[in-house]
């Protein structure tokens, strides 16, 4: 009796939780762009100038800068990933102005070192003596947030020159004279170093030491701001004329900030050109149509499977159908927790996974029926059937899991998404349609409430005498 009660409680509680949570659940699944509308572009990055290699850092930095640019345009959660050695995949779901995003992205990253625009000639002479001193530049504004540049610097002798650039709309905040561009830096010349106190600083190398000496000589005592596109990263003050062609930028950087700045400078020195290799764009209506059609197909397919199970296996079939519903619910739950984007191939894998989950039940129930026909009691048929079918089910599932893992490991794009859903499906189906369904059936069998073989879809006439 106790077992019957726990059986009923488990079933009712599960149904309650599912009914209560399902409406919210479905809305919080992140849908891919093929279901929601949006676009996906795969870029291949190559160096602007040619000859040089695309490095890991420059690729990551490019991806980061793309993310910033798309964010600035107000795109909804862009998903930007690097692939292989030179690819960047960009996915934006639910975006309205695709054209603007595309154009913005195509521009290469533009690194500039800017001054306030008023050259101060008197400073170019004089400080040649300590030219070899490398700790020349000291940052006054070390964060790479776009806060205001050093107020003192813009105050003194620059009033005249900054008149027009002081206008509110100026993204360069008065730094309107380009002193150095990314091209002036040695490719991969920037690195992170640490001073005696262990504070990180960025060491930079320039191609033309003379030009750098001229520029720094002119700007002694003034800030030189570092911009990526129109974003202020840092505005160190030039301490003295630097002739060696190398310099350090120090300041209150965190290690991560220093590394980011290093990557930015290296990227600026070697901007990557992005070429579209593949693109997919789905209108929102079409995506919704695909989603509706595929879901409807899934629901109809599932209902037929449920009816088939109940018809073939009666009471155990009913349990299998129940576990199948829990399986579907649980898999959606995993999608939400792991923040997995559901795409069309993913839904296909999901629906096929339902077939595989049911297979676990079919194998077990066939085995139990077989044992019953050979004359065993219901209890011992259940025990023997579950035990021997368990190994079969696990072998079959693990082999498929291996195939899924390999696909995930080696695949790209949709193959990977498909494999991920397949693996999640297999694992949840082991929990629901192997462990849970067996437990529920055992409650009923042990409570002796399934006395007739007919409850299992076995006819009395088929049972052999022992």
């Amino acid at each position: 009796m106790k077992r019957i009660v726990s059986f009923i409680v488990i079933v009712l509680v599960s149904i309650g939780i599912m009914v209560w949570s399902t409406p919210n659940l479905l809305n919080s699944v992140r849908l891919g762009l093929d279901l929601k509308g949006g676009f996906e572009i795969l870029y291949e990055a190559s160096p602007m100038t040619g000859g040089e290699e695309v490095t890991r850092e420059s690729l990551n930095e490019t991806a980061r800068s793309l993310e910033k640019r798309v964010d600035a345009l107000g795109g909804s959660e862009p998903e930007i990933t690097t692939e292989g050695t030179n690819r960047i995949r960009l996915r934006i779901a639910g975006v309205t102005d695709e054209k603007a995003v595309r154009e913005r992205i195509k521009e290469p990253a533009n690194l500039t070192f800017r001054s306030l625009g008023n050259s101060s000639e008197e400073n170019t002479t004089g400080s040649g003596a300590d030219a070899e001193d490398e700790t020349a530049a000291e940052s006054t504004d070390s964060t790479n947030a776009s806060g205001s540049p050093d107020a003192a610097a813009s105050g003194t002798e620059q009033e005249g020159a900054t008149e027009e650039s002081a206008a509110q709309a100026d993204p360069y905040q008065g730094y309107d004279k380009v002193e150095l561009t990314g091209n002036d830096f040695k490719p991969n010349g920037a690195s992170v170093q640490f001073d005696q106190l262990g504070n990180p600083m960025i060491s930079i190398e320039l191609k033309d030491a003379q030009k750098f000496a001229d520029v720094t000589g002119r700007l002694v005592g003034q800030p030189m701001a570092i911009f990526l596109d129109d974003q202020l990263l840092s505005a160190p003050e030039v301490k003295q004329r630097i002739t060696g062609g190398t310099a350090q930028i120090s300041g209150k950087f965190t290690r991560e900030e220093a590394q980011n700045l290093r990557d930015t400078i290296n990227l600026g020195a070697l901007p990557l050109k992005l070429t579209e290799k593949y693109s997919q764009s789905v209108g929102a209506t079409l995506g919704q149509l695909s989603l509706d059609q595929t879901l409807r197909a899934g629901i109809i397919g599932s209902i037929i499977i449920l009816i088939f199970m109940v018809f073939m296996y009666r009471v155990p079939g009913l349990i299998a159908a129940f576990c199948l519903i829990i399986h579907t619910w649980g898999t959606i739950l995993v999608f939400i927790w792991a923040d997995i984007t559901l795409t069309l191939p993913g839904i296909a894998a999901f629906i096929l996974g339902i077939g595989m989950a049911v297979d676990a039940n079919i194998i077990t129930y066939e085995r139990i029926k077989e044992e019953m026909r050979s004359g065993k009691s219901i209890m011992s048929a259940f025990r023997a059937g579950s035990k021997s079918s368990f190994r079969t089910v696990m072998d079959a599932q693990i082999t498929t899991l291996i195939a899924g893992a390999v696909m995930f490991w080696l695949g790209t794009g949709s193959v990977r998404g498909f494999a991920l859903v397949l693996m999640i499906d297999i694992i949840t189906s082991i929990i629901t349609n192997v462990v849970l369904s067996r437990f529920l059936l055992s409650l009923l069998v042990k409570a002796k409430s399934l006395k007739k073989p007919g409850y299992f879809g076995v006819k009395e006439s088929e049972i052999r005498e022992l």
């Binding site: 579209e276 693109s279 499977i305 595989m356 297979d359 195939a403 695949g411």
Partner: protein
Amino acid sequence: MSSKPQAASSKWNFNFVKASKYFYTFSIVLTLAGILSLAVFGLNYGVDFRSGSNVDVSVSKAATQAQVQKVLADAKLDPEANITAGTDRVSIRFPEVLTDDEVETLQTTFNSQIDPNASYEINTVDVEMAKELERNALLAIAVASIGIVIYVTIRFEWGFALSAVVALLHDAFLVISVFSILRLEVNLTFIVAILTIIGFSINDTIVIFDRIRENLRFAKKQTPHDLEDVVNKSVSQTMTRSLGTVFTVFIAAFALLVLGSESIRMFSLAMVIGLLFGAYSSIFIASPLWLALRSKKKPSAAKPSKATT
């Protein structure tokens, strides 16, 4: 499905091993036809495998071929584009990649001339990408096969592993052959379908092999005839399960084919064909093949070197 439950393993009594030579012949003929077709015609690659742009438009009112033709002409786009017009969907395939501006011109012209509420799906591809995905998929199949061989060899023995892999490659290849012979369009989702078919094929085969392994423990293993009995018995005992499983997965795939979205139609078709091949090969190819491998090995089994179990 018959409504009457089967009497224990008697319903499917059939000499699968004896019949296997016909099925071998069938499979070999189909494989050869596939090789021939692939060599002569190759595959009918979809836009994923050909450089170009594919524009799918979902329209709220029917558009005719001529109307779309006029849109292309007015938008100064390639008149060579292949147009498929339907009541709720228009497909235009351009042999070259459209630029962003061309896409916009096309959309504005289409909206003004045919349907202001049209919704677009635009796919552009560089052939290299798809080819690379294809290579990746082939690599994945090769590596997955090795993984499966290792696992099955550990859990069973190498003969099972080899037969299972032959069966799965057979299924994958035959689906590719059918697509080549019938000139069906192959795109990226087709690759996903092939990978799934492999998953199912192996699942199906393992269940039968598991039963053979179990029956082997109680069977006398003297003559090849004894082994043949074991195979026949095992296949017939698992027959109801095989049919049940194929039926359920088939229903899911078939529902996707008939009711699912246009964009995964070829995927579903490949799945449906592959499932049938998968079930067929586990029953008629894999198990007899294992027997053939095992019997070949028999004379040398006296030597301890390679004997298993």
